[in-house]
């Protein structure tokens, strides 16, 4: 029960979501701030334009000849210097229209200065009446789309220009190169992006720390759970914060572990008690049947009865021993000895032990052993090998073959016991290591149905594995792998 990858993925998922949220919020905030700043700046610029266009327009009105606008006051005499006009552009249009700029207007649109405003004025016929020295080339009369005098703005590359048509159809235009303003806005956008990135990094770092902190109890719980699963049943999770959700989880787990501990303790106790309570009656049966048989039985019928009882008692005795060994291995009570021994010698002894059985069944045995020293309990492992050999002989066909091979595969001792017998049906294969499970439902072979279960338990107590592969009518192979050192 390794929880580490899970917590990592929870952390990852939380952080990804947080990153997503941060990016959304920061982007929204940044875009809004940028737009707000941009609109405000442009409106400021436009306000400046409007002021100047209005001044220009007012000057133009004042410069009108009296006959064309009878109620207008006569043009005021200029006190300041007159604007020089571009050469080639007539100061006076063919109809004698002139425009005088007032001092205020000249101050507002200081064409010599650096504030960059320029102006142009067109007659109602579209003739350029006047334009400032700094006006950019390619300046064109705006289209007069609607017959109104509304102040309008147009953008031409880096230039922004404001204009309006007077009621007489003349056009006043003021413009300025706003490249610097645009660059400032661009810088502002970059600044926003940089601040956003910094906030994102800071936020993610902080979130990562918070998430780790929040998940640390989970790691502690999973560590404790792992140690408990590893056999330290008395261990508990140290619950510091009892009221939090994780504290409740830890408490729940602790009570589960306590129950588990109790269950194992009860199992151990049961094993000890069962050992005594089961063995004593079987002892009585064995002693009395053996006495009865030794006493010279009255007749053949009695003798058969005694023999049946004796067989049953012997069988019960093996059953008890095996079950107790299994339950002790289960409870981890029985730690196997770790003594170095030559597995090939043990395997050879086992082969010799079952040879009479093989001869009786006409089964040939072939062995291929290389000396291999491993650490373990040779008696217990001999039990495994004998079990596998007996099975291979018992479930073989007459004149069948059993092959035993022991070899070293990297750091593992690999013992394979193969037969060419009837094989095990595929649906039985996953269950053959279960207790009392028999592929042969007739129970005619007289085994206990525990051999493979105890073999598996013993092999696993040695830190090894046991596996089976089988083909019906082709044979079965059991492979035991044990660590060499």
């Amino acid at each position: 029960m390794n929880l580490a990858p899970l917590t990592k993925s929870i952390r990852l998922r939380l952080l990804l979501w947080l990153a997503f949220l941060f990016v959304c919020i920061l982007t929204g905030f940044g875009v809004t701030a940028y737009q707000f700043q941009r609109i405000t700046r442009l409106r400021e610029i436009d306000d400046e334009f409007e002021q100047r266009v209005a001044a220009l327009s007012a000057d133009a009105r004042k410069s009108l000849p009296l006959d064309s606008l009878p109620d207008a006051p006569p043009p005021a005499e200029d006190s300041g210097h007159r604007l020089p006009s571009e050469p080639g552009v007539p100061e006076v249009n063919p109809r004698g229209r002139t425009i005088h700029l007032s001092v205020e207007t000249q101050r507002l649109i200081d064409e010599w200065d650096t504030n960059g405003f320029y102006f142009a004025f067109w007659s109602q016929d579209g003739d350029l009446l006047k334009k400032s020295v700094n006006a950019p080339a390619g300046l064109k009369l705006p289209e007069h789309l609607l017959p109104d005098t509304v102040f309008r703005v147009r953008a031409r590359g880096d230039f922004r220009e404001a204009f309006h048509f007077t009621e007489m159809g003349e056009c006043a235009l003021v413009g300025r190169n706003i490249a610097a303003d645009l660059a400032a806005m661009h810088r502002f956008a970059l600044l926003l992006a940089a601040v956003g990135a910094a906030v994102l990094a800071l936020g993610l770092g902080g979130s990562g720390w918070l998430v780790s902190r929040a998940l640390r109890p989970v790691e502690k719980i999973s560590d404790a759970a792992r140690r408990i699963a590893g056999g330290k049943l008395s261990e508990r999770i140290n619950v510091a914060e009892t009221d939090s959700e994780l504290g409740q989880l830890a408490n729940t787990l602790n009570s589960t572990f306590a129950r588990l501990d109790t269950a194992f303790a009860r199992q151990r106790q049961f094993t000890a008690v069962a050992a005594h309570e089961l063995r004593t009656p079987v002892s009585v049966m064995l002693t009395h049947t053996q006495n009865g048989m030794a006493g010279g039985c009255v007749n053949e019928e009695h003798r058969e009865a005694f023999e049946a009882c004796l067989r049953a008692a012997q069988r019960m005795r093996r059953l008890i021993e095996t079950l107790l060994a299994l339950s002790r291995l289960d409870a981890g009570q029985e730690t196997v000895r770790r003594i170095p021994f030559d597995l090939s010698r043990t395997a050879r002894d086992c082969v010799d032990l079952v040879r009479p059985l093989a001869d009786e069944r006409g089964v040939k045995m072939f062995t291929e052993f290389s000396p291999l020293e491993i650490f373990g309990d040779s008696e217990r492992l001999a039990q495994v090998v004998t079990n596998l050999l007996a099975n291979a002989i018992q479930y073989n066909k007459p004149n069948g073959e059993v092959r035993v091979k022991l070899e070293r595969q990297n750091n593992l001792a690999e013992l394979a016991v193969s037969d060419n017998g009837t094989g095990i049906p595929a649906e039985d294969l996953p269950r053959i290591f279960e207790r009392f499970y028999r592929a042969d439902k007739s129970r005619s072979t007289g085994g206990l149905g525990l051999g493979l279960a105890i073999s598996k338990a013993i092999v696993e107590a040695h830190g090894g594995t046991i596996e089976v592969s089988s083909n019906v009518d082709a044979g079965t192979t059991f492979t035991v792998r044990l660590p060499v050192a």
């Binding site: 079987v282 009585v284 053996q290």
Partner: protein, 217 residues
């Protein structure tokens, strides 16, 4: 040979008694720890078969107390086969242990070995001149020819042979060959010794007047 069996399960106690008597032993019985200790301290048994789980006083306790006064060989019967239990048994002074359930043959073999070791013998065959006693098969041969002895005759011969060189008093023979419920031998000891001498030669067993019998080294 006289044995004490201490076992609280009555059926097992009776079964053991029957099996051991059939094998030629004189057998005393005790069903709890107190009674077992009382008998074990009062009599020189050749061996004691002692169950671990007993009422009143368990096998460990009995053994520990007995070892203060006697070196009688003790075979522990235990229903637990944990290594810790075995080690404890042997450390406390048990001479052997047997895990229940056991075969009668194994119990008998272990008892024979125990008694033999206690008497300083290492083989199951004892040779005295041309007489060979096989304690396993409980048979006697003279010059290669099997000789048939009665159970009593065999018991007396085996005891004297195991304690070869020692003078065994009549009382000791009574003690070791008869159990507490048996007094049939009392006046017949001389008859049995006469039978042995007749079958195996008069010089095998010497009589020490007012002391007892002896097989000379």
């Amino acid at each position: 040979m006289r044995l004490l069996v201490v076992e609280d399960e009555p059926d097992l106690l009776n079964g053991l008694a029957r099996a051991l008597r059939r094998a030629g032993y004189a057998v005393d019985l005790a069903a709890d720890g107190d009674g077992g200790l009382y008998k074990a301290e009062g009599t020189d048994y050749d061996a004691i078969v002692l169950d671990v789980m007993l009422p009143k006083m368990d096998g460990w306790e009995l053994l520990a107390r007995l070892r203060k006064t006697k070196r009688t060989p003790v075979l522990m019967l235990t229903a637990r086969d944990q290594t810790a239990d075995r080690v404890r048994g042997l450390d406390t002074g048990a001479d052997d242990y047997l895990i229940k359930p056991f075969d009668n043959d194994e119990l008998l073999a272990r008892l024979r070995a125990l008694i033999r070791r206690a008497a300083g013998q290492t083989h199951s065959q004892i040779e005295i001149g041309d007489v060979v006693i096989d304690t396993r098969a409980r048979t006697v041969a003279r010059a290669g020819q099997p000789v048939t002895l009665t159970a009593r005759e065999y018991a007396i011969l085996e005891y004297l042979a195991l304690h070869r060189g020692e003078v065994i008093t009549r009382t000791a023979l009574y003690e070791h060959l008869l159990d507490e419920s048996d007094d049939t031998l009392s006046n017949l000891l001389d008859v049995h010794v006469f039978g042995i001498r007749k079958k195996l030669g008069a010089e095998l067993i010497t009589t020490r007047r007012h002391q007892g019998y002896c097989i000379e080294k």
